[in-house]
C-alpha cells in the first residue's frame, strides 16, 4: 500500500465506471446525429425538440408540482412529529418508531402496490392526490431520520431554559427549537424534493394517466429505444441537481460560520 499508484488507479476506474455513462449521455445530448454514438457535430436541436415536446414538459411540470407540495407538507408534518417524539415519552412511541423503520426499509415497489390497493379500496381516482399521499409517505421516514439525527445532539436544557424564562409551548417551538434545527429542516425539504422528483417506482402504481410525472413519461419514451431529447433532459436535470447540491453546500458552510 505504501505510496503505490495501483490503488489510485483502481479508485479512478471505479469513478470512471460511475461517471462514464452520464458523461456520454451529456456529450451526446449535443450531438447532431439522431441516434448512436457517432459524433456528427455540435447541435442544440434536441434541446429545441425537448422544449417543444409537450409530454416531457408537462411531465416535468407535474413532477415539480408534486415535488414541491409533497416536500413542503412532509417537512411540516415530519418536523412537528419528530420534535414531539423527541421531547416526550408516551405510550406507543416505540410503535411509531418501528413503523417508521419498516417504512424506510420497505422496497418502493411494495409501498407503491400496497397504496394502490388502498386507493382502489377507498375508490379514489389515481392522480395528483394519490401521488401526493404516496410521496409524503415515501419521504416521511427520511425527514424524520434527518431531524432525529439533528435532534440527537440538541440540548434539552435549551428548551427548559426557554420555558424557564416564560416561553409557552408555541413560543418555544418558534423562537428556540425551529431556528436551531432550521438547517436540518431545509435539508429534509431538499431530500424530500429529490426523492419525489426521482421516484420512478411508486408513481407507476399510484398516479393515473391524467397526472403523469416525468419518470413515467421518460420510461414510456425510452422503452422503445434511444431518444436524444431524453439525453437533453437528463443533462438539464443533472445540471440542476448539481446546482442544488452546490447551493446547499454553500448554505451549510455559511451556517457553520
Amino acid at each position: 500500500m505504501k505510496h503505490s499508484k495501483w490503488p489510485w488507479l483502481y479508485i479512478f476506474l471505479v469513478y470512471l465506471f460511475l461517471y462514464l455513462p452520464l458523461i456520454i449521455l451529456i456529450i451526446f445530448s449535443f450531438n447532431e446525429a439522431s441516434s448512436g454514438t457517432v459524433w456528427k457535430g455540435f447541435s442544440l436541436r434536441w434541446y429545441d425538440k425537448l422544449f417543444n415536446s409537450s409530454a416531457l414538459i408537462s411531465g416535468l411540470v407535474n413532477s415539480l408540482i408534486v415535488g414541491v407540495s409533497a416536500a413542503t407538507i412532509v417537512t411540516i408534518i415530519g418536523t412537528l412529529s419528530a420534535v414531539t417524539l423527541f421531547r416526550f415519552n408516551f405510550y406507543g412511541k416505540n410503535f411509531i418508531m418501528s413503523l417508521l423503520y419498516i417504512l424506510i426499509m420497505s422496497p418502493e415497489i411494495i409501498m407503491g402496490i400496497s397504496l394502490l390497493l388502498l386507493f382502489k379500496f377507498l375508490s379514489m381516482d389515481l392522480g395528483f392526490q394519490t401521488l401526493l399521499i404516496t410521496h409524503i409517505t415515501l419521504c416521511l421516514p427520511f425527514v424524520m431520520a434527518v431531524l432525529f439525527t439533528r435532534l440527537a445532539n440538541f440540548d434539552v436544557h435549551i428548551i427548559e431554559a426557554a420555558k424557564d424564562l416564560g416561553a409557552n409551548e408555541l413560543q418555544t417551538f418558534f423562537h428556540i427549537i425551529l431556528p436551531s434545527i432550521l438547517p436540518a429542516v431545509i435539508a429534509a425539504w431538499i431530500l424530500s424534493f429529490t426523492i419525489s422528483m426521482d421516484d420512478s417506482i411508486c408513481a407507476f402504481f399510484t398516479s393515473g394517466p391524467q397526472f403523469e410525472i416525468l419518470p413515467q413519461k421518460i420510461y414510456a419514451m425510452v422503452r422503445t429505444g434511444v431518444k436524444p431529447e431524453v439525453n437533453a433532459l437528463s443533462t438539464l436535470i443533472f445540471g440542476a441537481s448539481m446546482l442544488i447540491i452546490i447551493i446547499a453546500q454553500i448554505m451549510l458552510r455559511e451556517r457553520k460560520k
Binding site: L18, I201, L214, V222
Partner: protein
C-alpha cells in the same frame, strides 16, 4: 403540563393516523388480497385461496422467482467485490480530499435512477459506445448484443446500487482501528490471514449493511430488467408491476402474493442484519 396537550396531541395524532392509514393498513390489505381469488371483473373475489402462493413455488413463476434472487445475489456480490477494495483504499488513505472523494461516489445518484439506467442502455446499445469503440479498434467486426441480456441487467444493478455498498463499507472501515492490523502482523500473521481473521470480521457490519442495501432494492427496481433485459429477462418485480399496471394482465392477488413473499424475505434479512449487528456489538465492542 396542560398546555402540552393540544399542540402535541394534534401532531402525534397526525403522524399516528398517517402511518396507520398509509403504511400499516395498505400492507394489511395487500396481505389479505394475496389470499383471495382472482376475478377478471372486479379484480378480486372474496374467497380464500392459497393458489396465488402455489404459483410461485411451481412452474414458470418459480423459475422467475429463483432467477430474480440469482440476479440480485450476483449483483450484490459484484458490488461487494468492486466496492470493498474501493472503500478500503479510500478509508485508509490519508488524503485530505477523502471526504470529497466519498461524496463523489454519491453525486451521480442525485440524478434519477431511471435516467442512469437509460444511460447504461445508451452505452450498451448495438450502436452504443462500447460496440463503436470495439469495432473502431478492430477487435470485432459486427456489434455484440450487449443490451437485452442478463449480463446487462446485472451490470445495471451494479451500476445503480454500488454506492449503497460503498458507503456503509467506507463508514465501518473508516472507524476501524488499524492498530489491530499492526498487532496481528506483530504477532506474526501474514497479510492474507490478517485480512481474513481481523479485518473481515471487524468490518462485517458494513458488509452486511451494504448487502441488505443492495440486495433489497435489486428485487424491486423493475425498470432495470425491463429496460436492460428487454422483456426477455424479467424478474419478480416485473411480474408485480405487470399485475398492477398493465391493461391486460391484471391479477392483483397474484401480484400481492409476490409482494408478500418479497416482504417476508426482506423481513428475514433485516432481522438477520439486526441480530448480527447486535451480536457483533456485544461480542466485539
Amino acid at each position: 403540563m396542560k398546555e402540552r396537550n393540544l399542540f402535541h396531541t394534534v401532531t402525534i395524532a397526525v403522524i399516528v393516523l398517517w402511518l396507520l392509514l398509509f403504511a400499516l393498513i395498505p400492507n394489511i390489505i395487500m396481505f389479505i388480497v394475496s389470499f383471495l381469488e382472482y376475478d377478471s371483473q372486479s379484480f378480486v373475489k372474496a374467497v380464500f385461496t392459497l393458489e396465488n402462493y402455489k404459483k410461485f413455488f411451481t412452474g414458470a413463476y418459480f423459475n422467475i422467482f429463483l432467477n430474480s434472487f440469482k440476479v440480485a445475489a450476483i449483483a450484490t456480490f459484484l458490488c461487494l467485490i468492486i466496492g470493498y477494495p474501493f472503500a478500503y483504499i479510500l478509508a485508509r488513505s490519508k488524503s485530505k480530499y477523502k471526504g470529497l472523494m466519498a461524496l463523489l461516489v454519491v453525486i451521480p445518484y442525485w440524478t434519477s435512477a431511471l435516467i442512469r439506467t437509460y444511460a447504461i442502455s445508451y452505452m450498451l446499445a448495438a450502436n452504443g459506445l462500447i460496440n463503436t469503440i470495439l469495432i473502431k479498434i478492430g477487435i470485432i467486426d459486427a456489434p455484440l448484443s450487449l443490451l437485452y441480456t442478463e449480463g446487462a441487467v446485472i451490470f445495471g444493478f451494479v451500476y445503480t446500487l454500488l454506492p449503497f455498498m460503498i458507503l456503509p463499507l467506507y463508514a465501518t472501515i473508516d472507524k476501524f482501528d488499524f492498530r489491530y492490523i499492526e498487532a496481528a502482523q506483530d504477532l506474526g500473521a501474514s497479510k492474507l490471514r490478517t485480512f481474513y481473521h481481523i479485518i473481515l470480521p471487524l468490518t462485517s457490519p458494513g458488509i452486511i449493511a451494504g448487502t441488505v442495501l443492495v440486495f433489497l432494492p435489486a428485487l424491486g427496481l423493475f425498470y432495470i430488467p425491463s429496460l436492460l433485459g428487454g422483456g426477455k429477462h424479467i424478474m419478480v418485480s416485473n411480474i408485480i408491476q405487470e399485475q398492477f399496471t398493465s391493461n391486460v394482465l391484471q391479477n392483483w392477488p397474484l401480484g400481492s402474493a409476490a409482494s408478500v413473499l418479497i416482504t417476508v424475505i426482506m423481513g428475514i434479512m433485516i432481522w438477520a442484519y439486526y441480530k448480527s449487528s447486535k451480536s457483533f456489538r456485544t461480542k466485539v465492542l
